[in-house]
Amino acid sequence: MSTTILEERKAQIHRTGEGAIDIACNRESLAGAVSQRACVFCGSRVVLYPIADALHLVHGPIGCAVYTWDIRGALSSGPELHRLSFSTDLQETDVIFGGEKKLEAALDELIDRHNPKAAFVYSTCIVGIIGDDLEAVCRKMTEKKGIPVLPVQSEGFKGSKRAGYLAACKAMFRLVGTEDVADVSPVSVNILGDFNLAGEIWIVREYFRKMGVEVVANITGDGRVRDVGRSHGAALNLVQCSGATLDLAKMMQEKYGTPYLRVSYLGIEDMADSLYQVADFFKDKDPGIVGRTEKLVRDELQTLMPELARMRKDLEGKKVAMYVGGSFKAFSLVKAFRHLGMQVVMVGSQTGTKEDYAELEQITDPGTVIIDDANPLELSHFIKEKDVDVFVGGVKERPIAFKLGVGFCDHNHERKEALEGFVGMLNFAREIHSSVMSPVWNFVPRRANRVAEAEKEAANE
């Protein structure tokens, strides 16, 4: 009775060019399907985690806190409070009698110990069930400690990761508007949806510095509570990543009239295009900005392109599959791979929307598999079917590729290589090249047997 694709999953898979795209998405994961997805709590934790001078307290049994202890490569240029894993470590008696007292006491002691600028308190599955009043405890502790103590309603079972993004944005939005903005430049932006993995936000900030654009708040990579508090003073919000912080941008637009642009810092076109969009936005206020931006892009490309061309010689025609969290990243990667002469044959995402998938269909070649909320068996099925040379994903996807004897590039939140910006494109190309061109694939049974068979056939002829 084995089937690779369960009947209930079939609507979540589409092939480019084969009929109109009407992919099912934004569904709850199917029981027993071994989804690669996480939960609401995960969504909130991803977004808020990099705020480095805030205390992040997970209210629940120990698991949720330990599995998210410093797992992401979000770097800070100053405080590193975010890299510690705090939990109320609920025990059976707390579950029976309620965890509010323990939460209060935990906040009391942790805020005294670390003097954070704010505290985020994450709700987990169990807290949703036992009904602790997070809002009330946080209100009380805000008054007592004199810092914002913010509840994050992230009970794991109340939706998908996407719902966690919204919970995170709601928590952050309470901070927005709490600081003075008198000294903010009229040519200024907030960077939303970048988490400073491997220091990526520093690359992007350097571009803006060269363009003459002030960055008010990093939301949330290398983030600071005070910066979020004055982010409403920025003239423009730049939103990267399809889902994570778009809600915050929308809330800010509604309340403070801050416009937003959707950008991506991955790949050559999208990086350049994002910078040009910003230059275009500010050109009336600062006529020199367009020229400065053009020069910046030109200089960067001059060093980048010859290196890329060298690697492209080896990579031309190789096939790529990718499975990413948000589908927005996939758009950029499809284009980035074209620069390397490589063909994307499968794109999947955990949290794509109908619009995202429709756009993916537009930019991918006929026959490309587009898939929502996949699982290991489906991923391995398509890797084999498409005979891919390299797979792009996260830690959970890595052994799937490796077991099949396929190269891999870690492009999720745990990456330790900076892959954004022009220099990031170079790092990306190098990583792809080093994996795809490694001699180890010669020894992997799937490839080795193929070579042996080809040799046998040649001998028979």
């Binding site: 089937t3 027993g32 698991g63 330990v66 059976e92 079972f157 959970k396 799937r446």
Partner: protein, 456 residues
Amino acid sequence: MSSATKAERPNYVSTTNACKLCTPLGASLAFRGVEGAIPFLHGSQGCATYMRRYVISHFREPVDIASSALGEKNAIYGGGPNLKKGILNVMKKYEPKLVGIATTCLTETIGDDVPMNIREFRDEFGDLDLPELVEVSTPSYNGTHVDGWHGAVRSMVEQLCTAKAADAHRVNILPNMVSCEDVRHLQDICRDFSIAATILPDISETLDGPALEDYVKIPSGGTPLEDIQAMSGSRGTIEFGRCLPKQTGGTSLEKAFGVKNHRIGLPIGLRESDRFFEALEQISGKDMPRRYELERGRLIDAYVDGHKYVAGKRAVVYGEEDLVVGLTAFLAEIGVDVVLAGTGARKKGLENAIAHVTDGVARMAPDVREGVDFNDIAEEAETLKPDLLIGHSKGYKYAKAWSVPLVRIGFPIHDRFGGQRILHLGYKGALSLYDTIVNTVIERKQSDSPVGYGYI
């Protein structure tokens, strides 16, 4: 201060950088060590995904853990229907021989009756070719991953081994949370003692598999179901652990079928390994094969050769309770002073166990702490001034801050390669640990020395 209060965690309400994981993770790992098994977490999707990620980072193997993926409605109306649907989907996709179902804090608290759900499932789908279904209760607010592991092992024994099997020249080994390499070593030892062994669980292949032609749904290897069912006919059970729960797979087999249970410590170091080999001699009726006499002799020889390098070094040891006991036993033998022995678990009798295994050799009794997190360890270590940290990867931040070497042993090892292939057990394991520790000390001495001796 009485020893009882000393072992308890004294003051903090909150936990910072925990030195433990949650119960369903241990259960999932144990289920993974059975042939044709797939672990299944009854809870929301995140639990399975987070644990998969955590386990994959250590073993570098695909780790498929299914989930009933409960949503808000299920949390209100009960998760039974999703559990059943999930099992059916897992059957369709994975064709497992066993589905190991562990609960989570969510399903324990909403009060799902999993045994009843399974009975219903068997009634409703009895016409299908059903896999074995084993359930274990693992609320994450009660105990640690080690409790989840032992609970799953006990559940498997009790739910699968239900009839008295014919007497056979077999031994059951319940190895506790050891590495894949450890299990392979245990297999070799039993083979050399000419006795068939049922090692439950056996993660040696399922979590450290070879490169293959295809992606296999469920990796080969693991304890065969027939062997589990035949455990009642074995000559004896050896279970490793001096901090085990009162009731375990071993005690269940003894109670139900009269299979003598030998509860000994993890065979780490010379004396604890001796106890293991003695138990094997007793059960198999065979004297220790010469190769182990030689291994034992080489271990003592090495102890002598290296004793001055490690003499009086101060070590902080942390991690799973029984691993901490085993390592402390070993370190006491080689003259390393364990100044702090800590575990995140509570009420495990760690202090007594350590006193027992270090009796007669330790130069000092360590500060033994249960229920610690890394914040507690760090506070103590300031005054204890260790030369070495010994435990899993999660102590790295502290080792770095104190500029003290970290010897990575146990689970998880997320910042080094090959954690699943570290050998801890038997004379051979002790020798390998000994080489690592002596060399770590020498390396530090060399790097701290202005001369950098080339001969030591």
